[in-house]
């Protein structure tokens, strides 16, 4: 229990930290993140430029703060898409059973066969690499775990008597699924969604680092890393700070997810 509390505390602080950065970016950033300043290329961190400047003289701190918006936006929208798809397919598979279940779950198996990062790479290579495309593609390739979880929850809830009572009263399929089953099976989905945000942020950073993610000049932690790698020896602050932000944010969501899992798991409650 002590471990869970520490995880929850640390996770919340880190998540809150990156969220505040993203929400209040215009107020926190001392400079315009797109403002090129040829007088001050590759300045080391100083009081004037808190985290230094990059190869075009842009303020790294300002770009980092605006980058938080991109990363979190991608994380939440991608997870929203994957949870949406996963929940609907999982509910249908679990409740209807039979050949519907068979088709949906075999489709899940097929999707899981592809190494998702390379699938995303391939799809983005065909499409234009834009923020929107990245969010959608990450969402479309990460719903399988949610679908499996939701199906398992649905299987255990569908024969419960309050669900039967709703059916006997003539409740429609949608009402049974979304009013009676979904709210009672939401706990594991919540955990999975929290962990999903972390992995979506990582995938976005990876794609941007490879140059097929968020396109410059829009700042994202991933493409800031890429821009920094050429001058790693003379200006390490260009790489260290975006890397640190990715690390802390992903760690925060993972810790929060772990803590939520422990809190929501009824079996863990007994050894409190």
């Amino acid at each position: 229990m002590k471990r869970t509390k520490i995880f929850l505390f640390l996770g919340l602080i880190l998540v809150l930290f990156s969220t505040v950065l993203a929400l209040f970016a215009p107020y926190l950033a001392p400079y315009d993140p797109f403002q090129i300043n040829v007088d001050q290329l590759l300045q080391p961190p100083s009081w004037e430029h808190l985290l230094g400047t990059d190869a075009l003289g842009r303020d790294v701190f300002s770009r980092l703060v605006y980058g938080a918006r991109v990363s979190l936006w991608v994380g939440f929208v991608a997870v929203g898409i994957s949870v949406g798809i996963g929940v609907v397919l999982g509910l249908l598979a679990g409740y209807l059973g039979g050949w519907v279940d068979e088709i949906i779950m075999r489709f899940v198996d097929i999707m899981l066969c592809f190494p998702s990062f390379f699938l995303i790479l391939a799809v983005i290579a065909f499409l234009e690499p834009s923020l929107f495309n990245i969010m959608v593609v990450i969402g479309l390739t990460s719903w399988m775990g949610v679908a499996r979880l939701m199906r398992a929850e649905t299987l255990s809830l569908r024969k419960r008597e309050f669900v039967l009572a709703a059916y006997l009263n003539g409740a429609s399929l949608l009402r049974i699924l979304f009013v009676h089953i979904f709210p009672n099976g939401i706990a594991p989905i919540l955990v999975s969604a929290t962990l999903g945000v972390a992995s979506a942020i990582l995938v976005e950073a990876g794609l941007s680092f490879l140059g097929i993610g968020v396109q410059p000049p829009i700042p994202s932690w991933g493409n800031m890393l890429m821009e920094g790698k050429g001058v790693l020896e003379i200006a390490p602050w260009l790489s260290i700070f975006p890397g640190l932000m990715i690390l802390l944010t992903v760690l925060g969501y993972n810790l929060l997810g772990e803590a939520l899992r422990d809190i929501l798991d009824p079996r863990k409650k007994e050894n409190k």
């Binding site: 008597e161 309050f162 006997l168 009263n169 009676h180 009672n184």
Partner: protein, 337 residues
Amino acid sequence: MQKEQILEVQNVVKHFDISGGILDQLRFNKGKIYLEKKTVKALNGVSLTINKGETFSVVGESGCGKSTLGRTILGLYPPNKGQIFFKGNRIDNLSPKKMLPFRTKMQMIFQDPYASLNPRKTVRTTLEEPIRFHQPSLSKKEIKEKVEEIMAQVGVDPGWADRYPHEFSGGQRQRISIARALMVDPEFIVADEPISALDVSIQAQILNLLMEAQEKRNLSYLFITHDLSVVEHISSRVAVMYLGRICEMGPTENLFDSPRHPYTQALLSAIPKLGETGLKHIKLKGEVPTPIHLPSGCVFHLRCPHANERCKKEIPELITLDNQTQVACHGVEEKRI
């Protein structure tokens, strides 16, 4: 005296397929590949009629198909064979939409008061739900009044309507379940072991509540239970089930006074009675066979002390005796028992 029938069940058969996916069904035998289907034979030709205003009890041990019977009647499981009539209308093959008008007339009360209410809905939402589907014309105020009226009727303070199920005790929850069933003014209620999960003192209260509601609303009950003393107390007629078949059925008094089927005799002899000394109950040999592989002939012949060759081969039909009870037993028919 001919009474008005409310429900008629004709020769209903319900088998559950438990063979799983196609890969689980594959069998190899002597170089041949074939598919093997496994079914649980829960109901094997059950016929009964329930009259208006009566309590018809179904008793039997666990796994004899009594709950399946209740659920099949309400359309939770489609029967494999046979027909079900509600007030003369066939209801076993209706689409959910066509079934809707009958759903207001037929309700169910479940065994487990902890599983039968949605834990994330307030009592009010739970009680309003049936009305939303069946009487959408009612105004908000009328619905609210109805909820409060029914809650008061079942003995739960209407002021608690906005609480969640976990804030109530088992007995109160069962009252709320009953309230949900009464919301749409049904005529027929299947009560699937409504009191077996409750404390003894609460059991009596709930039984009284059910009987009160019956008197006021002229309800008919199909009362599923394994508690024989309750059956004797509340029901007008009883059916005894064994392995998905009715072995004896008749007016409660006649059946309890002079049970004819060997299984009923053994079952009734197991009721402990005050003032009785020593053990007098009939001991049956063996266990209940699995409903996956039913015994041939009479399903009871493996354990019956009176079984003969005919019982092993021929399935006995229900025959009506002088005292209005119906018995499915070759021994009774041949006047051996």
